[in-house]
């Protein structure tokens, strides 16, 4: 009998030991996560030090990027990134609002609603390299024809083409968030408006949209974060030139480069320290901008859903 008792005690001691091990393992893994993010930040800062030291802050608005002459200015890429992202955003907003309103208010259940919802989510699932490939062979010739008709240089590739593809790619992010937010609008509010004789359009315009304004804005921010960091589709469609055109038309329809696409196309070619670290500094800027945009977006959503 005593023997059995000891065995049981041993067993429960070993279980207790495992319990502590398991709890420590959980804590370690969460700590690993924090370390990874801090590590990303430190690596980017350390590696872009040479460029920060030798080029200074003026790097960000230097207009010339010429690695052969050792001149580095990030303005062409900042401009390209801002232009492609915001154009894509402006194109995508009407569509993502329409999807949110349709799925959130007009048609919330049933097969048609589900079908549209799943289709929109599949848009986000298609790999960006496939968007780029398709754009290169289908969209570029179409845009080239369009540009010939408009009388601008018919490159086909360029800022405008990339913005179009980007717009399609970022719609799902704002749309799926918007849909769930609009579905969360309390029905007493809507019923009150209907009782006062409002039409459906008036309910949407003066009750639903004001109520969900901050949440829909957060969705747009998340879409913007995606657009800023998107690499492959843009790298394949934007034409990869580091010079800026003279007129807006030339910039908008001509080839360019974004921060992400220039890193993708030149990183493995960068043959000396300052060149490489100038590219990494672009990555650092991109990291900060997307992280801040994402965190603000998430913050708005948590505030919104808690209220």
């Amino acid at each position: 009998m005593p023997l059995l008792k000891n065995k049981r005690l041993d067993l429960s001691y070993s279980q207790m030991k495992w319990e502590t091990v398991f709890k420590r393992l959980l804590i370690t893994m969460s700590a690993v996560l924090v370390m990874v993010v801090v590590g990303i930040l430190i690596t980017l800062i350390v590696q872009s030090m040479p460029s920060i030291k030798s080029l200074g802050v003026g790097y960000l608005w230097g207009k010339v990027w010429d690695p052969v002459q050792n001149i580095y200015g990030a303005w062409p890429f900042l401009l390209g990134t801002l232009l492609t992202s915001f154009t894509a955003l402006i194109i995508s907003i009407p569509f993502s609002y329409a999807i949110s309103i349709y799925l959130g208010e007009y048609n919330t259940r049933g097969w048609l609603s589900n079908l549209l919802k799943n289709t929109v989510e599949l848009i986000a699932a298609v790999p960006s390299v496939i968007y780029g490939f398709w754009g290169l062979f289908v969209l570029v010739p179409v845009i080239r024809l369009l540009e010939m008709k408009m009388g601008v240089a018919p490159y086909g590739v360029g800022v405008f083409t990339s913005s179009l593809i980007l717009a399609v790619m970022i719609i799902p992010y704002a749309a799926s968030l918007g849909t769930s937010l609009i579905r969360m609008v309390p029905s007493p509010l809507k019923e009150g408006a209907y009782a006062l004789g409002a039409t459906r359009f008036e309910v949407i315009r003066s009750v639903i949209l004001p109520y969900t304004r901050s949440g829909l804005f957060a969705g747009i921010l998340l879409s913007l974060g995606r657009a800023l960091g998107e690499t492959m589709a843009v790298a394949m469609l934007i034409g990869n030139t580091s010079t800026i055109g003279n007129s807006f038309k030339e910039i908008f329809f001509g080839p360019g480069n974004t921060m992400a696409s220039v890193i993708a196309s030149q990183f493995t070619e960068a043959d000396h320290t300052v060149y490489l670290s100038a590219l990494i500094e672009l990555g650092l800027v991109l990291f900060f901008v997307t992280v801040i945009i994402n965190l603000i977006g998430k913050k708005i959503i948590t505030n919104y859903t808690n209220n």
Partner: protein
């Protein structure tokens, strides 16, 4: 008075039609792309295509076996890295929601989710590729694992939070040790939710190209050594799509078809699983 009401009603109907038109217009690009890729790609796919390495320029034929094998190895390795870490961190987040560590690692999940994929590539280049002195499959896997982790963590956390506390309390009151409660009671109960998160994360990373550009790098030959450069489907599509040769474009169309089908099937089967579970990812 009647006229005003009629105008308001017409406005309402017009608005609804515009909304419906715009909403359904969005599906057109997806359908067009799907049809185009299927049309271009399905002709390429046959046994020869799946079992041979790409032919040199100028020769017809050849296949994408190196990219297929490479993609499978790279994704399998990143799953091995990301799934345990992601699940354990997710369990921690759902079990200890109030602690400081949980707050910071929750914040880090949000940050990691928003990091542009190209930045992950740069960072892993300095963490793994430079110390090893060569591009390698394992560095690509680490980069993809970093993109996979946030999705696995969030899905684990969300699924476990949905489970009733009484489940855990009942098991604990029977004297079951904490780790066995989690591993034998909580995880099995939330298994389909966690599984769908894992599937979704695999669907997300299998098409990622940017983090592999400076890590796995690509390889025209069949290679299974994880410390050597390795080809993968998205890298092959990128390299061959931007090349000037028609034979290579055809290989890329075939590869796109296979990649797209894989991603779509994974996504749709995940949808079928999540329908039971109502999880927001």
């Amino acid at each position: 008075m009647d006229a005003r009401i009629r105008i308001r009603n017409i406005k309402s109907i017009v608005f609804k039609s515009v909304i419906m038109f715009l909403a359904f217009l969005v599906t057109i690009p997806l359908i067009v792309i799907l049809i185009y890729i299927i049309k271009q790609g399905v002709m390429q796919v046959n046994w020869h295509f799946l079992t041979n390495v790409p032919a040199p320029v100028g020769e017809t034929g050849g296949g994408i076996s190196n990219a297929l094998v490479g993609s499978i190895i790279i994704v399998a390795l990143s799953s091995v890295i990301a799934i345990p870490i992601g699940m354990l961190a997710g369990i921690y987040l759902s079990e200890n929601p109030g602690t400081k560590l949980a707050h910071y690692s929750g914040l880090c999940v949000d940050i990691l989710q928003g990091v542009p994929s190209i930045v992950v590539g740069i960072v892993v280049y300095f963490w793994v590729v430079k110390p090893l002195g060569t591009f390698s499959a394992i560095s690509g896997s680490i980069a993809l694992a970093m993109m996979m982790m946030p999705i696995v963590i969030r899905s684990t956390e969300q699924t476990l939070k949905l489970l009733p506390d009484t489940l855990k309390e009942a098991a604990l009151s029977l004297g079951v040790p904490y780790h066995r409660v989690i591993l034998k009671v909580i995880i099995p109960c939330g298994f389909s939710g966690i599984l769908s998160g894992i599937m979704l994360s695999i669907a997300r990373i299998v098409g990622e190209t940017a983090p592999l550009l400076f890590t796995a790098f690509g390889n025209p030959y069949l290679s299974t050594a994880i410390t050597k450069p390795m080809q993968s489907l998205p890298l092959l599509i990128f390299n061959y799509a931007t090349s000037p040769y028609d034979d290579w474009h055809n290989l890329a169309w075939g590869a796109s078809f296979i990649l797209l089908m894989f991603v779509l099937i994974l996504n749709i089967s995940t949808k079928l699983i999540t329908r039971k579970w109502n999880i927001q990812l």
